[in-house]
């Protein structure tokens, strides 16, 4: 990102922080968009503005997500390769709504919600994915990169651009190439990986360097000390540094021990573990642990995933909401979790759910 673009964004954030635009105001979506831009660019958001954004309640979040979904433009049904400012506009608007999505997801997280299980945000994400599915029939990725121009600087990892095919030879992609060669995650990108697993491929490649390993390890330790849940990707990376093969959570409610001995089984006690993005798949996972069973729920577009395996059970079909669910009767030992992408690549991880610790 050029310095001037950073400066523009900072100035805009300062102006918005000083403004009286409330989160319930009609223009609040533009605040969220700038917030998303800042998160994607790794720019610190003024405290006053961040507090205002985080004060949005669920009804407000719902309204903002629905408005953004309404604003998703129809995808271009054809492209004039000679010169098409219309397509340029539509693609840039699409990326602006990506920032709205990123901003809403962060606010949802503040409310303790994994955003993709909050229907309006999930619905917005789906609308954007449908746009990409249609637009990618006509647009190669390098053309999209040119059209969104300086907004390429907001891309963390492949992001939504991964949905576009590499079709054309690239004659001139100066900034994009430069970014790939000199990638260094911003603190926001690093935190995004640590807590939501996003950008694993690029960040873990960067973290192979000794200094970067220390930086990433320090961040994970700091978050863990604050009891911030870490993504499965971050935990997996962290265990690999320590030559550990599996990831353990002390999460099974105590009632399971009682159930094992035939006493009263309290099925209402559940523990939820948000896994975040699984490897570099386009899938987000969650474990729901009760005394009697563990459920793996994976959120992924039907077209993005071939199968989800949890222990000895496999599902090859999501439900109508693109949720892939596998139940296991309270496993006591290590369990393998495998998500196979549509392209045949698999994400594998071995996990253990142990008894919850006494509070």
């Amino acid at each position: 990102m050029s310095i001037s673009l950073h400066d523009h964004l900072r100035s805009t954030l300062d102006e918005l922080a000083a403004s009286d635009i409330a989160m319930t105001a009609p223009g609040a979506s533009l605040l969220v968009q700038q917030y998303g831009d800042a998160l994607r660019a790794g720019i610190t958001v003024p405290t006053a503005l961040r507090k205002r954004l985080h004060s949005a309640n669920l009804e407000t979040l719902r309204a903002l997500a629905e408005e953004a979904e309404h604003d998703v433009e129809p995808a271009p049904s054809s492209v004039d390769p000679f010169d098409d400012p219309t397509v340029e506009f539509v693609l840039r608007a699409r990326d602006q709504l990506e920032s709205v999505l990123v901003g809403l997801r962060r606010i949802a997280l503040v409310h303790g919600l994994v955003s993709d299980e909050f229907d309006p945000i999930y619905s917005l994400a789906q609308a954007l994915a449908r746009f990409d599915e249609q637009a990618s029939k006509h647009l190669a990725r390098n053309r999209v990169e040119q059209l969104i121009a300086e907004r390429m600087s907001f891309q963390a990892g492949d992001g939504w651009l991964a949905r576009y095919p590499h079709r054309d030879a690239v004659v001139d992609r100066p900034e994009v190439t430069l970014h790939a060669e000199t990638f260094r995650p911003t603190s926001e990108q690093l935190t995004h990986w640590a807590t939501q697993g996003v950008g694993a491929h690029r960040i873990e490649a960067w973290a192979k360097d000794d200094e970067a390993t220390l930086e990433a390890t320090a961040l994970l330790e700091a978050l863990d000390a604050e009891r911030v849940p870490l993504s499965l990707n971050a935990l997996r990376w962290s265990r690999a540094q320590k030559r550990l093969a599996q990831i353990e959570w002390a999460a099974r409610p105590k009632a399971s021990l009682a159930a094992a001995t035939g006493t009263i089984h309290d099925a209402t006690q559940t523990r939820t573990i948000d896994l975040g993005q699984l490897g570099d798949t386009r899938a987000v996972g969650r474990l729901i642990v009760t005394a009697a069973k563990t459920t793996l729920r994976v959120r992924a577009e039907r077209s993005a995933v071939r199968s989800v395996q949890f222990g000895d059970r496999t599902t090859s079909e999501p439900d109508a909401r693109d949720l892939w669910s596998v139940d296991l009767d309270a496993p006591h030992g290590p369990v393998e979790l495998v998500v196979t992408s549509a392209n045949g690549e698999s994400f594998r991880c071995t996990i253990v759910i142990g008894p919850a610790l006494e509070e």
Binding site: S4, G27, S29, L30, Q33, H70, F89, V90, A93, D172
Partner: protein, 251 residues
């Protein structure tokens, strides 16, 4: 048969001053832009008015004009013409143009291009007038830091129509696979946009298009969407009357 866009000189109070001088355009690209934008040649025949030039007040194009144009082209083809725009030649089953520039811009026979230009005479005048209209709306504009304009426009992005009449000129850079252009965009809140190439502080018309905003916030996004940074991107030129109505102090 040629067209002059804009019809007169506009000096814009940017820093440095930008000048939009009358420019005589070739018939071929001009017809191409009319066929592409107000007549919606890249859309399916049933969606020809997706850009909404028929919903401006006054409309730039009417459905009856498009019908007459389609009839003209089909008659030309019946007499041996060679129009290669599927959505115009075959309005029932014509698919949108894919992967190729519109033939009007290059391969269409000149005699047909000239015929189209004549047929589209009234529409051409109204389409050209939009360029003057948008330049006039910012010609006495106020130079405002982009961040300040963003906050003001975000505050005004309400369903009450507070953005109505607002036009903004922004300068940025457009990059293609083999070249880079400095471009200026004048955007109006109703989604009409005129793009110019900037050459030695002179504006040269590039296109006029419209994208009807889907909400007031979408309108605000359109108004402020400036491509890649240029040295002039730190500020935008905002229509003075609107800025004053907002009672936002000018920096």
């Amino acid at each position: 048969m040629s067209v002059t866009v804009p019809s007169r000189e506009f000096r814009l109070p940017t820093n440095p001053t930008l000048v939009a001088s009358p420019l005589v355009l070739n018939v071929r690209p001009w017809v191409g832009h009319i066929v592409k934008h107000p007549l919606g040649a890249l859309e399916s025949p049933t969606q020809w008015n997706a850009e909404g030039f028929d919903r401006l007040d006054p409309p730039v194009v009417k459905a009856s004009e498009r019908d007459a144009f389609v009839t003209f082209v089909q008659d030309s083809n019946a007499r041996g013409g060679a129009c290669g725009v599927p959505s115009i030649c075959d309005p029932v089953s014509g698919e949108a143009q894919l992967e190729q520039p519109l033939p009007c811009f290059g391969v269409c026979p000149s005699v047909l291009v000239l015929g189209c230009r004549q047929q589209l005479s009234a529409l051409s005048d109204r389409y050209a007038a939009l360029v003057d209209e948008l330049l006039a709306s910012v010609s006495d504009g106020v130079v405002v830091p982009r961040a300040k304009a963003f906050a003001a426009i975000a505050r005004a992005a309400t369903p009450a129509g507070t953005l109505d009449g607002l036009a903004v000129l922004a300068v940025g850079v457009r990059i293609n696979s083999s070249y880079t252009d400095v471009v200026a965009k004048v955007s109006r809140a109703d989604g009409v946009r005129v793009d110019f190439y900037v050459r030695s502080r002179t504006l040269r018309w590039r296109t006029t298009m419209r994208r009807i905003p889907r909400s007031p916030t979408a309108a605000a996004r359109q108004l402020l969407d400036v491509p890649r940074d240029d040295s002039m991107s730190a500020t935008v030129l905002v229509a003075r009357s609107w800025w004053q109505q907002q009672q936002v102090p000018n920096r």
